[in-house]
Symmetry: C2
Subunit: 526 residues, 2 copies
């Protein structure tokens, strides 16, 4: 199922030279003191992460055929990026935001970092209450680079490594790494030198400048999700997505003057709820016959896509397009569980994938992903190898030529650079693991306390509460309609064993039964 790419003879030397130089710069230890004006010509890196974006929320087909959603939504700049770079058809993340983002930032699997549900307030787990399950004491305070806070995973971020090695590091948009009043609430804590609008919250009060992004007339936040730092756009008609883009471009203008390679984390609040309409695009989608809600959703997508295009334009206009890697990705599946925000039938918004955000099914965890590395990725190429959110960490550091041997945490992620340059396939023989010993809060197929393994074509989901196991052959059955657990007990047994072994080794947590006080069995204990 994996496709290999062979670099064209022309492209390889350029890219490899850039990479080798990067590697030298990164591994040479501390910078030379004194007056050194030599330019560090490692590539710039833009990580463009979209919140709650479904696999089908784009006009770019990530499946083997163009779907109805691909026809409805318009993302011309994703198409432009895909035409230049490599499209990943099997990129995975966790089913909710914090686990994905903490894995990206630390390289650790969610089973290990234990930030398994979404974070917000210090010491306050966000799980739904259950009569049956007692949930474990997970890391509801998120991650930090220092000890001292309970329920926090301590790790060194890849951004800190980038900064230490000489990158100028810019955060723009949603952060969501540490709970309010913990060190990890601030992007500056993790090595960013610029923070535009990032804080503890994983959502937003409003996209509307007219609503001051969630501030009252006195300038006070009306919610824990009010977007900070965009005061200059208050009382204008600037949609948050546009405001963030304008600010990101200002930061890039500054970065250009610094004569350093830059890392821009363009982390949109879009397309998270509230699904407010972006008037720049609304009429177009209404004209397609979409409902108000669905048309508004489409405008969130296209506004995000315009942001991508604006950044690509900036790179071209500033002579940086040939030396900038762009990684486009989503952090979890598209929202598909509430009638308040969506009009399509529940659980179908990521079709052909099953369910959406919060679910262990593909709709919850499969992400749109495109990587463009000038001179390295073959234009318009596709890659069917699977990767997981935690792979961002080693991949970005690999791209920048920075070693991370002294990271205090174990890195579960694997660099996907070999997939980009055709040097190999890190997913061969590798299982992907998920652990969600939590209760998200909404209900739907695959939403519950689960752990999951993907191994080659097979995927096993284990439900902690019921003890049920489901087995799917993903390439044959992307919609997870045919549970093969009864037919293939051999594979169920094998994967249960591998999953259980990994979880215990990684220090994963599991729920208990309130009735007995006993922990739910691991998947290989039942």
């Amino acid at each position: 199922m994996n496709r290999r790419l062979v670099l064209s003879a022309g492209a390889a030397p350029l890219a490899m030279a850039a990479f080798a130089q990067g590697a030298d710069a990164g591994n040479a230890g501390p910078v030379q003191a004194g007056n050194c004006t030599e330019r560090d010509d490692r590539p710039n890196i833009i990580f463009f992460l979209v919140d709650d974006m479904g696999w089908q929320d784009t006009s770019v087909p990530f499946w083997n055929q163009k779907t109805r959603y691909n026809e409805l939504y318009e993302t011309p700049n994703m198409e432009r990026l895909a035409a230049q770079g490599m499209l990943f058809t099997q990129a995975y993340a966790s089913s909710v935001s914090s686990p994905s983002r903490c894995s990206m930032m630390t390289g650790a699997n969610a089973a290990r970092h234990r930030v398994t549900n979404w974070t917000l307030e210090k010491g306050v787990p966000t799980d739904m209450e259950s009569d049956v399950l007692e949930l474990p004491e997970w890391n509801c305070n998120g991650i930090a680079q220092v000890p001292g806070t309970a329920n926090t995973f301590v790790a060194k971020s890849f951004v800190q490594y980038l900064k230490d090695s000489g990158y100028h590091t810019i955060h723009c948009g949603k952060a969501h790494w540490g709970a309010i009043d913990t060190p990890g609430e601030s992007p500056y804590h993790f090595g960013f030198e610029v923070n535009i609008a990032g804080h503890a919250a994983g959502g937003l009060a409003s996209y509307l400048g007219e609503s001051r992004y969630g501030h009252d007339k006195g300038g006070n936040p009306t919610s824990l999700m009010s977007i900070p730092g965009l005061e200059k756009y208050w009382d204008t008609d600037t949609f948050a997505t546009e405001a963030l883009t304008l600010e990101a471009i200002k930061a890039l203008d500054k970065a250009k003057k610094y004569n350093q390679p830059f890392y821009l984390y363009m982390s949109h609040y879009a397309i998270h709820i509230p699904i407010e309409k972006d008037n720049r695009f609304f009429r177009k989608y209404k004209a397609k016959g979409m409902s108000d809600k669905e048309a508004a959703y489409a405008t969130l997508i296209e506004g995000m896509d315009k942001s991508l295009g604006d950044l690509m334009d900036w790179l071209e206009e500033n002579g940086e397009a040939d030396n900038t890697i762009i990684i486009f990705m989503g952090d979890n599946g598209g929202y598909a569980t509430g009638e308040y925000w969506r009009d399509e039938p529940l659980y179908t918004q990521n079709s052909p994938l099953k369910c959406g955000k919060g679910s262990a099914y593909e709709g919850g965890i499969r992400e749109p992903m495109i990587v463009f590395w000038p001179g390295v990725t073959e234009p318009g190429s596709r890659c069917d190898s699977y990767i997981l959110a935690e792979d961002i960490y080693p991949s970005v550091l690999d791209m920048a030529g920075v070693r991370y041997d002294d990271a205090p945490q174990h890195i579960d992620g694997r660099s996907f650079v070999p997939l980009l340059n055709g040097a190999g396939d890190p997913s061969e023989g590798r299982n992907l693991y998920w652990n969600f010993p939590n209760l998200w809060g909404e209900t739907g197929p695959g939403i519950g306390s689960t752990c999951t393994v993907r191994s080659g074509d097979w995927k096993l989901i284990y439900f902690y509460e019921s003890g049920k196991k489901e087995l799917y052959n993903i390439p044959d059955d992307i919609g997870e309609e045919n549970d093969l657990a009864q037919e293939r007990p051999d594979i169920v047994k094998k994967l249960s064993k591998e999953l259980g072994k990994y979880l215990r080794k990684a220090g994963a947590q599991r729920p208990s039964f309130k009735a007995t006080g006993m922990p739910c069995p691991w998947p290989d204990e039942i």
Copy 2:
């Protein structure tokens, strides 16, 4: 001339235990990954730096007698701090701001870092033009932690070390490390996690909230010196010194929640020009018969002192007073050269010291300094050993127990911790060096292109343009009235040799003569 302090038996164990623990934490390498809630109980550190504060701009006598200025000015909180800690009578810095601040931040002597005059705009030296001297191409862009910018000294800051070792790092007020549009313009570049109102500029447009600290009604800065980040105090009567203090205290409230030791760099824009009156204190000084200008100057001092007291109050109210080191210092001599701002006779405002800011005489370089380390410094003690601005770097890291062996730059500074705890005297047998191959812009005694050495009681000043050398016995002649160069050619020769040797070894720069194109001789070449 040096006084030793012996720790009382009661105080020592507490302090040493704290320090040893700090040392362990700092030297243990990367933090442990995972869930670690153990509190890092190294001491908090507040570095309270006042801009352009003269040695006599306080009611605390730093000389061997109380002067007229000590009687005029009221700094009750400096008195309170001095009663708890150790007062340094011979603390030195450079004669202008940037060299001092860059030395503090890098540990390098100004001769080495070459940021020898004040910085502001990228690539634009701020020196006065001369018909006689061609000035060297000094580092007019300041310092940075990365290469890539011309005329920049590359070094790793002690703040970065503090942050990396687990301190929460807060910048409040004047930064002034890198020119506009260079990486060093931002405190975040140097490892700060919070930045309140710091940027490239070394001065301020206005102290007045009514003037929006130098912003017009449209919110645009009216000057490169407009203070950023204090928008919430615009159009109020909040003096900048007070606004900074209020924001610093908010940052401390937050730091307390983080459960980390904190480093607060409280770097007041006060008492730099413009000498605007702080109405909270103005009438009091008018009642003493002072002129409007001199009374306004006195209010800048007392406003700064109130800030110190507010921080000390916060520490006491929050149970952090016993675990917080406070270092109080000025960055260069008091302003004494312009009639526009001061009414006293020119060059007398630092009396008994000669001249002021910009001068090689004591008025330009001798600073008020007090250090309070609970359990370590003997209450109300005085120390006559000399120290220099660059000593801040190793001293703070020493206090925090953080090693800096891998710093890319050479550290000229020496830790003054042995002076605090009575373990030794790092100034014994040590010379202090200054190099100012620049022209500041104003005129007065000792203001010009000079280099200087202090060696024991002796001080030699060499004027590059004239070749003149002056020699003073400082303890005997603090006002530098009796030039002993003719009487003691032996000492002149010895110190000239040591000064010339050091400057060449440190890679110091010197001016040239425009007429001949020849460099000015080093002090030991003439």
